[in-house]
């Protein structure tokens, strides 16, 4: 058998075996799905449709007006306004970071979620790694992995949210919750020290 035929056979073997091997390596030893002739999203364990959003330390936080003596706290707390510039929505296209200007209190939820334009099916670790490659120079203090979910059985739309602190270049999970439990903007505001 000629050397060329051997190489060709090796190419067929690699094409057959490597995707599966890559999937298992990514699953068990945290091997990057995107490197070594990566199988990319097809080797990504536990992928979820999500987008990473980075938050910088706000310049100022608008304090909530204190309750007057005897005033009852409303059943549904009004969502506090977040200071500007408060978030930068990371877009998966290189060098494209969308800065969303100050948010009007009554529109903030809509504006915030409408600014999420680039959901991708990756696992959270890969998404964070990818986001931080581009976002590190912006010195974010908080990162959020935001995942839209729909339960067809319960006919419900909700946001699934993970918050990460980013001190000293280390990503640390703060909490994971879905929007039914708590308003995501309130959680983010709390973590940023605005509330």
């Amino acid at each position: 058998m000629s050397a060329r035929a051997v190489y060709l056979k090796a190419a067929y073997v690699v094409l057959t075996v490597w995707p599966l091997a890559h999937m298992l390596l990514a699953l068990f030893i945290d091997f990057s799905p995107w490197k070594f002739m990566g199988w990319g999203m097809y080797a990504t364990p536990y992928p979820e449709l999500q987008q990473i959003v980075a938050f910088k330390k706000p310049l100022e936080c608008r304090a909530q007006s204190p309750l007057a003596h005897g005033e009852a706290r409303p059943a549904i707390e009004p969502r506090p306004a977040l200071a500007s510039p408060v978030f930068e929505v990371y877009d998966w296209q290189p060098r494209r970071v969308q800065r969303v200007p100050s948010l009007l209190p009554e529109q903030e939820s809509l504006r915030f979620f409408e600014a999420l334009r680039s959901f991708s099916v990756w696992n959270t670790e890969s998404s964070l790694d990818r986001a931080l490659e581009r976002l590190h120079p912006y010195q974010p203090v908080l990162l959020a992995a935001i995942r839209p979910r729909i339960s067809l059985e319960r006919k419900l739309f909700y946001w699934d949210l993970s918050l990460y602190r980013y001190p000293n270049r280390h990503v640390r999970l703060v909490n994971r919750y879905d929007a039914g439990e708590v308003d995501p903007l309130i959680s983010i505001g709390r973590e940023l020290g605005c509330l």
């Binding site: 060329r4 060709l8 190419a11 067929y12 094409l15 057959t16 995707p19 599966l20 999937m23 990057s32 995107w34 002739m37 990566g38 199988w39 990319g40 999203m41 097809y42 080797a43 990504t44 536990y46 992928p47 979820e48 449709l49 969502r79 998966w92 296209q93 290189p94 060098r95 494209r96 939820s109 809509l110 915030f112 979620f113 409408e114 600014a115 999420l116 334009r117 680039s118 959901f119 099916v121 890969s126 790694d129 990818r130 490659e133 581009r134 839209p148 979910r149 729909i150 339960s151 067809l152 006919k155 419900l156 739309f157 909700y158 946001w159 929007a179 039914g180 308003d183 995501p184 903007l185």
Partner: protein, 299 residues
């Protein structure tokens, strides 16, 4: 004959040239297709991206670096379109795609890896073997992508389609919803009001009709069945034609409904290598123009 031998014989038979006398012709059309693809990707793509980046501010995108890159890609495309001695051109285009993978890394799209594989194969693998290798590669890609999708629940439950249908309107996944809207208009079906002016922050009850719930599940499971089931069916002669036709239809579906135009057109080009070269004459230009037109329409 052992099972392994039978399997390898079936694979060999499936990936053999459909018309050995005109395999060269088919590969020539295939190379021209990818030459055009690279030129469009580099010249037009870079141009459009610059304009998008500057958010409407027009600044001439053809800096000296871009001009040199464009010239190299056009030169590579001309070389790869030759009938013979096209390998240098393929290598040049492979270098361009590697540059794109590296410059976008770690955010390079999956289709870039596939294109890189195609150009490298054209550059390195002997002309009489490259068709087989590419036919095998595309079947492997379909099978493993289906396997990966089956390992998590988005497709099985149909949730992936539901999310695309109900995401905020500014999301990049709007093409599917536009098509859904058009289909429901044509067939007079009731589409639930899409949440545009809603408070997105909490649970939102969706008024999803039963037909839509069923349609999402069927679409998700059909996609899984197509990706995992069709490549093995190509191995058997009896089911080969039908399976290849279904894979072509599925690739068109990926382009139309998932807005993965580059991936869909690359898939179609590779799958056409299984067909008689006469189909290349009209199907390849159709895939090329169709995918680009869809891309332009959906923005």
């Amino acid at each position: 004959m052992s099972r392994v031998h039978r399997l390898t014989a079936a694979i060999r038979d499936a990936i053999a040239a459909p018309a050995p006398e005109s395999e060269e012709l088919a590969l020539h059309a295939f190379r021209i297709y990818f030459a055009l693809y690279s030129v469009l990707d580099c010249v037009i793509g870079e141009f459009a991206q610059q304009i998008q980046l500057l958010q409407g501010q027009f600044v001439p995108p053809f800096t000296p670096r871009h001009t040199l890159l464009n010239a190299l890609v056009v030169f590579g495309a001309l070389l790869v379109s030759r009938r013979r001695n096209y390998q240098a051109g393929a290598l040049l285009l492979a270098a361009y795609h590697l540059f794109k993978v590296v410059s976008y890394f770690p955010m390079s799209g999956n289709h870039r890896y596939l294109e890189l594989l195609i150009y490298l194969s054209l550059a390195v693998v002997p002309a009489q073997q490259v068709g087989r290798l590419l036919r095998y590669a595309i079947l492997t890609i379909f099978f493993y992508s289906g396997l990966q999708k089956a390992l998590y629940g988005y497709y099985w439950s149909g949730e992936i389609f539901a999310i695309q249908a109900f995401l905020p309107p500014e999301s990049h996944l709007v093409a599917f919803r536009m098509q859904l809207q058009a289909l429901s208009d044509v067939f007079g079906l009731s589409l639930p009001s899409l949440a545009v002016e809603r408070d997105w922050s909490r649970h939102i009850a969706l008024d999803i009709p039963a037909w839509m719930d069923t349609a999402f599940k069927v679409m998700g499971r059909a996609a899984l069945a197509a990706e995992i089931g069709l490549p093995p069916l190509v191995l058997w002669r009896r089911t080969r034609k039908l399976a290849l036709a279904a894979l072509l239809a599925f690739s068109a579906y990926i382009g139309i409904f998932a807005s993965e135009y580059e991936f869909a057109s690359t898939n179609i080009a590779c799958l056409l290598l299984f067909q008689h070269p006469k189909y290349m004459r009209w199907a390849l230009p159709l895939a090329f123009v169709g995918c680009r037109a869809m891309e332009a329409i959906t923005g």
